[in-house]
Amino acid sequence: MNSPQAKIDIDSYEAGFLLGLYECMVQIREFEEGVKFLFLEGTMPGTIHQCQGQEACAVGVCTALEPTDWITSTFRGHGHALAKGLSVDEMLFELFGAATGCAGGKGGSMHMVNMDKGMIPSIAIVAGGVPVAAGMALAFKMQQTGQVAACFFGDGAIAEGAFHEGVNMAAIWDVPVVFICENNQYGASTHVSKVMRAATIAERLSSYGIDGRRIDGNDVIAVYEAARRAVDDCRAGRGPAFLELMTYRRTGHSRRDACHYQPKPEREQWLENDPIVRLGQALIEAGHATTEELDAVRKHILTSFDDAVERAKAQPQPTLADLTTHVLA
């Protein structure tokens, strides 16, 4: 992969498009930071698995999708949901367990969903979404809809049987699904090098006849371009595709995990390699934005988030009458 601080090549893109990527990444970052505070403060129930540092993966991939395309996500799914177009309100309300949340308070952090925006409930069983995404893509192929499924999972998922079974079936049936491994290098506290002998996940995919590629996952443009090619290939009937996005989980696996198992030099190196800072620098150097303008983007997002928190606190909770509804369709 590229050296961590490698310059992002934005030359062929318009300012508006790039600022959109930037804003979406900042939105995810500040959503996650705000949620972490609310959780630690005790305001918000439940548990959280966060994606600070991995924003370019969600944003780069989802920007390459059409609104009619679908994603599957994981227990670490807030970023994917925001990038696929779910609103801060519907997600925050869900985190507060409100009846007005995206799953009516029955899903929670690990099951963000909006069937009108192309996101089935996040699947919190590791690799559980891989065969499901293959099945979604099979449906698209059988119905000839031209849609594509994008399946997010982490490096931890590649040891699961469901991963290999799902990827293999997608491959033998040539279905339009892009498998996206966000290799943040840790499955909970275990480093990826301790769970596989191969040097890259991409090379393991080649054994299924899928051309796997390793990409700098903290370069949002590199992710977008790779995802774009993968999605185009799938839509043209040349699926499935696979992307290994190299990134880093700078927050704990969940809740109050202090990440003592991550070596300090490694953490510091990856903190330097911040996907938002990297794009911001490129925008400033290209004259697309000033530091002040980028700060203003962040401040606006923060203010909106604070407003959303106030709304979330005032949302109605489900009543006991809701306890047994929606068990069956």
């Binding site: 089935i120 069983i125 099979l138 290999h164 079936m169």
Partner: protein, 344 residues
């Protein structure tokens, strides 16, 4: 106006095959997914149910690798996107491999999405001890009846198989259909020794059966005997012989295992005052335990006698015929339990 045609006698395997074909004709979203279901010159699944369908529906009979976890997940994904998959395993025992997709995804998607998702997935699984040892023999019903979001049914006649399969395909929820290897009426190389005739005369007209109702197979006032799959047939045989002794048993084929049709069962037990539950599978933690508890809760003192369970020993399914025969409930044991209650 529909024309009435002469009913024809078919086996369960034939009834299922016909029902699947008709549902695929009726609705282009219906397709089959499973092992060895679409191989020309092949078996039509483990028990001939899908035999020949690949010629009629070459694009909708999807033959899978041996990967139950994977293809049940594929079924869930396709169902979420509006298809109506019929997924089957060769032996029910293999459902354990697919458990995560069935329990965590298929059954929960609707609830954990606040009602946004539906998973119209039909799952078919053959069960029953048939000379294959411990791992191709279990009755899996017990593991699924306590999974909210899942409908669980068991078919013991060809007439039911056709109506229930069609209802399951048209239902918006995941439906798990249990079938018994000794009841299929599979022919040729896939025929089973010790098979019981479960064929029915069925009309050619379309019909569906409810997925939540038991069926009363025989009326009687002295004792209620509940079974399903193979044991529904054994219960009827026992009832016929009890009648010789002057004991009139009411036989109920539970048919719907989740939900359990307590209205039908309790109405019968209120009348007879006695209940024998016959289950193939270990007694401990079985479906029979749930039926017994539910009836007791609902009827309280109105059931005059204690409830008896005739079930298998708490052991894995043994291979050798002498032990396997002792594992499966039989007519003498059912009769003994009924007579003990009636005379005691």
């Amino acid at each position: 106006m529909t024309t009435t045609t002469t009913p024809k006698k078919v086996t369960i395997a034939e009834a299922l095959r016909g029902a699947i074909a008709e549902e695929m004709e009726r609705d282009p979203r219906v397709f089959c997914l499973g092992e060895d279901i679409a191989v020309p010159g092949g078996w039509g699944g483990a028990f001939t149910v899908t035999l020949g369908l690949e010629e009629r529906f070459p694009d909708r009979m999807i033959n899978t690798p041996i990967a139950e976890l994977g293809f049940f997940g594929v079924g869930v994904g396709a169902a979420l996107m509006g298809m109506r998959p019929i997924v089957d395993v060769q032996y029910g025992d293999f459902l354990f491999l697919a458990m995560d997709q069935i329990v965590n995804n298929a059954a929960k998607m609707c609830y954990m999405s606040g009602g946004q998702c539906k998973v119209p997935l039909v799952m078919r699984a053959p069960v029953g001890a048939t000379g294959r040892g411990s791992q191709h023999a279990q009755n899996l019903e017990r593991y699924f009846i306590g999974v909210p979001g899942l409908k669980v049914v068991a078919v013991s006649t060809a007439y039911d198989a056709r109506g229930i399969l069609k209802a399951a395909v048209r239902d918006d929820n995941p439906v798990l259909i249990f079938e018994h290897k000794l009841l299929y009426g599979s022919k040729g190389a896939r025929a089973e020794s010790g098979a019981i005739d479960a064929s029915s005369e069925i009309p050619e007209e379309d019909y569906v059966l409810p997925l939540d109702q038991a069926a009363i197979r025989r009326h009687g006032d002295d004792v209620t005997i509940v079974g399903w799959l193979l044991t529904a047939h054994l219960a009827q045989q026992a009832a016929d012989r009890l009648a010789v002794d002057g004991v009139q048993a009411e036989v109920i084929d539970a048919r719907s295992l989740s939900p359990i049709d307590f209205a039908t069962i309790c109405a019968s037990v209120e009348k007879t005052g006695r209940l024998v539950i016959v289950e193939e599978g270990p007694k401990t933690g079985g479906v029979g335990a749930e039926i017994a508890a539910g009836v007791t809760e609902r009827l309280g003192d109105r059931a005059r006698a204690s409830i008896r369970r005739v079930a298998s020993a708490d052991i894995p399914v043994p291979f050798t015929p002498v032990l396997e025969n002792a594992y499966v409930p039989d007519v003498p044991r059912i009769m003994a339990a009924a007579l003990d209650m009636v005379k005691g």
